[in-house]
């Protein structure tokens, strides 16, 4: 059986669609299809991929309008004999399916996504106690692979390029909710700007498309309430 891969390409200057016929075997993934094209039909096709097991976050592309991880999407599951494959939205396209993630990672950095503790203990670290229950309160949010799928569908990110976006805010919340963390205030400050949590209007599409079921929409809402209370408390006190 052959499936048509209709790919939106970009060579740095012009933007065009190109179709490839890919022979498909049972269980073949979209990424295997892209590799088939690269290896046999057109070596110049550019896309990112590494782990091919859905954990490195390299390979998000848009298929028939929806962002997915190419490596863990079975071609047969898309249920169509013609696939429109495009780079994900809200990112600048560098080449073909490769988009520029620099800004995305800068936003992630901006929310201080690391455990902040008063005593650093670099030389003599100690075992911190955290019960499985405490861990559960943030664990799903730590599963984000930074694939950018959520950011690509967020309507707020579409029109405001400096919006921190669901993934970065989720990263901030992941640490706020961690019982070992002692840096909450700094992180509230980091997401409190008008490019922060306030830009979210609960479109919640981020949670719909997240391939790792991280529920970024949930994290953003939680983050916003806490941030609001924090900001208001600071003014009153």
């Amino acid at each position: 059986m052959k499936v048509i891969f209709n790919i939106r390409r970009f060579d740095g200057e012009k933007d065009y669609w190109q179709s490839f016929a890919v022979p498909v075997f049972r269980g073949m993934t979209l990424l295997e299809g892209l590799f088939y094209i690269k290896e046999n039909l057109d070596g110049s096709l550019a896309f990112r991929a590494s782990c091919r097991m859905g954990v490195c976050g390299s390979c998000a592309v848009k298929v028939n309008g929806k962002p997915v991880l190419a490596c863990e999407t079975q071609i047969s599951s898309v249920n169509s004999s013609k696939l429109d494959i495009e780079p994900i939205d809200n990112f600048r396209v560098i080449k073909d399916l490769v988009t520029d993630f620099e800004g995305f990672f800068r936003k992630h950095e901006a929310v201080k996504p690391y455990l902040i503790r008063n005593d650093d203990n670099y030389e003599n670290p100690v075992e911190l106690i955290q019960t499985p229950k405490q861990m559960k309160s943030y664990y799903t949010f730590s599963l984000c692979i930074k694939c950018g799928a959520c950011y690509s569908v967020c309507p707020a990110a579409a029109t405001r390029s400096d919006y921190l976006g669901p993934a970065a805010i989720t990263a901030a919340w992941r640490f706020i909710a961690d019982s070992r963390d002692e840096g909450k205030e700094e992180r509230y400050e980091a997401v409190c700007g008008d490019n922060g949590v306030w830009r979210c209007h609960f479109a919640a599409e981020c949670s719909e498309v997240c391939p790792k079921k991280v529920e970024p929409a949930k994290a953003v809402q939680k983050m916003r309430i806490r941030t609001a209370l924090h900001a208001i408390k600071k003014v009153i006190l």
Binding site: G103, S161, E189, G193, N195, W198, T227, A231, I232
Partner: protein, 119 residues
């Protein structure tokens, strides 16, 4: 990336505006229901000039209308402010947008009060 600069704001405008947007939304749900009921669904001549003027002079109605006016003008102009701030244009002109829409909100509210009290 300079886009991210100035994000460590300490201003309370955004969080307060967000909470008020939510609260005014809830209030509006109740007040608009009352408003619609009174003007369209209760009696057939609710919109007659005399009835309208009479309601504007009634203290209870006056209170409700003032609240409705406050809520709706804030909610509407703050809503538009949010929409404009959702764009790069809004981000660049953040101060102007905030001032302008707050001003319009106050103006609209004042106008409504004026109207009510002058009839």
């Amino acid at each position: 990336m300079d886009e991210l600069e100035g994000m460590h704001t300490r201003r309370v405008l955004e969080p307060a505006a967000w909470i008020l947007q939510m609260v005014s939304g809830l209030l509006l749900a109740a007040l608009i229901a009352i408003h619609l009921y009174v003007t369209h669904f209760s009696t057939h001549d609710a919109l007659a000039y005399e009835n309208v003027v009479e309601r504007f002079r009634d203290a209870g109605f006056k209170a409700i209308y003032t609240l409705l006016l406050l809520a709706v003008t804030f909610h509407a102009f703050n809503g538009v402010r949010a929409i404009v701030l959702d764009t790069d244009f809004g981000a660049k002109n953040r101060r102007a947008v905030n001032w302008l829409l707050m001003l319009l909100f106050v103006a609209a509210f004042a106008y409504g009060i004026l109207l009510m009290s002058s009839v």
